[in-house]
Symmetry: C2
Subunit: 475 residues, 2 copies
């Protein structure tokens, strides 16, 4: 079915933002396909407004013409939430031209930036003021602040600083009717009504368009110390986590889990990356610890050595390597960050971004791993992630020698069902940090508390009664 011809709408949109910034036709793959090339749509046009006022005018125009729209930041999401459907009737609203750092306020420890600023640009602006914006993730060179907030992005320092949500104090948002909510608040305390900020954060562009945000900054730590420790069991890794928390408090900024098979995959595909734990065959698990210290390197080292010394004595760790330089520390993080790449080299796999109460993780991994083996003997589990946040990347790779593409096609639904059932039994989440988008929309509808789903639908209908913002995503 062909949709209505949108000549009038397009002509008016062109007038609002300038013909140069309303793109249509061929060559728009960078907007219409997600970067993993899993979702490919076709947009009515790509609009690249340059100011909040232009965004608002476009949304009023969409509302008047009944045109639905898909907001997009850096297009680095993993769940297909920011690309249009295949109808050719949705306006793709790119926020990338809104890229001003509006203010850095060192005495208030805040920064206000527009939605299209790259995360790396926000980090750099904080750093130029001698401060830290701690949101940090693999895509930071291409993802945007607006996208980070729309999806409540996580990353590697959530244990200490929280998700994007916890780092945001205020928002500027354009409503589906094209009004601008001026909520750019730089306050730590403000009890004047409902928490609209957190309603828009994580709503994946379905309730409004975030055009700017005021975020928290932190004093930059004086020293970072990193170590890799081998653990005999997952219970031991959890005990080491809690020991590190008790001894280091908020100085502990990273605690990543890596299974033996992950290290083997990295060794197979990237043999040049050093692996400091000599004999990984002896230990089923490794953890990467990071301390960020406000005093100095000597103090950080002493604290890390105390944690590891006590853990070795208690049998929570079997072996440990402390990075002796910045470059060794970077190598340890590089090892951790190479796991997804090594996994891709090994072939397609079935990914799960799950969260569990930390206390439930050892039993979950044992049970679910056994159930997977029973279901599909020889299946290989790629288990790693942010243990300090209870967030596992629990990915399932075909048995050695099987065709990964065939395995994915044949097994994905059954294996998703098997894993998610066990996640929910232990009060976990089927999407810890990547969101819902298109990828998990049906699973959300099946698994979320029905009262919560009904509340979400009531809110969506109240704020976007025409259903124009990112329809068919999340809800």
């Amino acid at each position: 079915m062909a949709g209505p011809d949108r000549k009038d709408f397009l002509a008016q949109a062109r007038q609002l933002i300038g013909a140069d910034h309303l793109l249509s036709g061929e060559g728009l793959d960078g907007y219409e396909k997600d970067w993993r090339k899993r979702y490919a749509g076709r947009a009515l046009a790509v609009a690249r407004p340059g100011t909040t006022a232009e965004v608002a005018a476009l949304l009023r125009l969409c509302a008047a013409h009944g045109v639905s729209l898909v907001p997009q930041g850096g297009n680095t999401g993993l769940v297909g939430g920011g690309v249009p459907d295949g109808s050719g009737q949705q306006l793709l609203l790119s926020l990338r031209r809104l890229r001003q750092i509006r203010q850095v306020d060192p005495a208030n420890l805040t920064l206000t930036a527009e939605a299209g600023c790259l995360l790396a640009e926000v980090q750099a602006a904080a750093s130029a003021a001698g401060l830290l914006f701690p949101l940090s993730l693999g895509a930071e060179g291409s993802c945007t602040l607006g996208g980070n907030l729309a999806t409540n992005a996580g990353g590697t320092q959530v244990l200490r600083y929280g998700n994007a949500r916890e780092l945001c104090l205020g928002l500027e948002v354009v409503t589906p009717q094209g009004e601008v909510w001026q909520g750019l608040c730089g306050l730590r305390k403000d009890n004047t009504g409902y928490d609209l900020r957190d309603l828009f954060i994580g709503s994946e562009g379905t309730l409004g368009v975030i055009t700017a945000a005021t975020v928290k900054l932190y004093p930059a730590p004086q020293a970072c110390m990193t170590a890799l420790a081998a653990c005999p069991t997952l219970d031991a890794a959890v005990a080491l986590l809690n020991r590190a928390r008790a001894l280091a408090g908020a100085t502990l900024t990273g605690f990543e889990l890596i299974s033996r098979f992950c290290l083997q995959l990295v060794r197979r595909h990237f043999p040049q990356i050093p692996q400091p734990l000599a004999d990984d065959a002896a230990a089923p698990w490794a953890v990467l610890l990071e301390l960020s210290d406000h005093e100095d390197e000597a103090h950080a080292r002493q604290l890390l050595e105390r944690i590891l010394g006590e853990a070795l004595e208690a049998g929570e760790a079997l072996d440990a390597a402390v990075a002796q330089s910045m470059s060794q520390a970077r190598q340890l993080w590089h090892l951790r960050e190479s796991i997804p790449l090594a996994q891709s080299e090994e072939g397609l796999n079935i990914k799960h971004d799950i969260a569990l109460p930390i206390s439930a993780i050892p039993a979950f991994v044992a049970d679910c791993g056994a159930a997977l083996q029973a279901h599909c003997p020889g299946v290989r589990l790629v288990c790693f992630g942010h243990l300090g946040d209870g967030n596992l990347h629990f990915n399932v790779q075909a048995p050695e020698g099987q065709d990964p593409a065939h395995f994915l096609r044949a097994q994905e639904p059954a294996i998703n069902a098997l894993v998610y059932e066990r996640v929910l039994q232990r009060a976990g989440s089927i999407s810890a940090e990547h969101g819902i988008g298109q990828l998990k929309r049906e699973q959300l509808a099946m698994t979320k508390d029905p009262v919560a789903l009904a509340l979400m639908r009531q809110i969506k209908k109240a704020l976007d009664p025409q259903g124009l913002l990112n329809p068919g995503r999340l809800l």
Copy 2:
């Protein structure tokens, strides 16, 4: 106008929760009046359900009969949000019988408790597991966890741990239609849809009834160190704050501001409380610093002495006294906490619980103080509060010798207008931690961003279309 006779409703309510738990008639002052005795209402009855299922059944009954209701925790709020109006037609829903600690999970650092648990009981349950629940405020012996969350309570450690909002991971909520949202999540990461949790937190009982919550716990620090420092200016106090943050990071857990006049008031009314800064006349401001250290007392002392030493050298502090024992530390906090009492002894005054960007505080206090003097010569400013959070208690006392009650009656509207205008000019908040309730409802309607107000009304209407939950409060 007499309301409808509610015999049927009351008979059914009695059946649902038992006659012993549905109170009416005389002797209900503890429910019908707020503790400051500023607001006094009359309830149709006081219902004291004992379980979440009973709360849900009561809300279904209210919805069927069109009876409006006012949820109440410990009845310690400061803005009249938890007491009924004078109609005698509202059901007062006391949550105090829901007081089970349902679970403590030390490895996950979480605790699940029912809404009617006293804050002190939650703190004690955490402490019994060797852990810390850091929400801490004056009313902790009588306020409830549910009330803390419904009002997003603040307190003395917000600088480090955040408000009640930041300490909560999951909620159990009864909707206005009497359905139960099972959202008792103990996860640090969960990106599965809209943030309903934060919508209910701080909504002051107008969107739903919180019946239980899962909150974050922290490892208990090993040592606390406290000091009082005299500062020559407010700019110096802000510089000292940022120095302490840079050197101590999250080890800095308290940073309270006290004006010279506050210390004088305490000396006048409580001469027995020691004041360690010898000559307060020399310094217009004092700050109370607290460090909570995960290593030991020696380390905490060394860090605090380094901060104060550098601040003295930089001229940010003129003098400093470090508590040499737990009992001296308690005395310093006692001095800080005696300010509101000393102020009451001095007589009625006009209170403002405001927040500002920390960078704006020195200029705000100078401008607003001068404007108050111009408006009402001789007026005395009682300025103290949580400088680390940008939260000031900016209270205005009658000129020496004037009748405080007359001053309050004659001056409150004009002085509120004068103060709030200047707060808003500097992007501040007219209610930092106490909320809106009845007290600031009209001010909210006049001062809040109109788009935000419209969004709030849309949400209220979507979730509570009958308008039964705490009507006339907040919105």
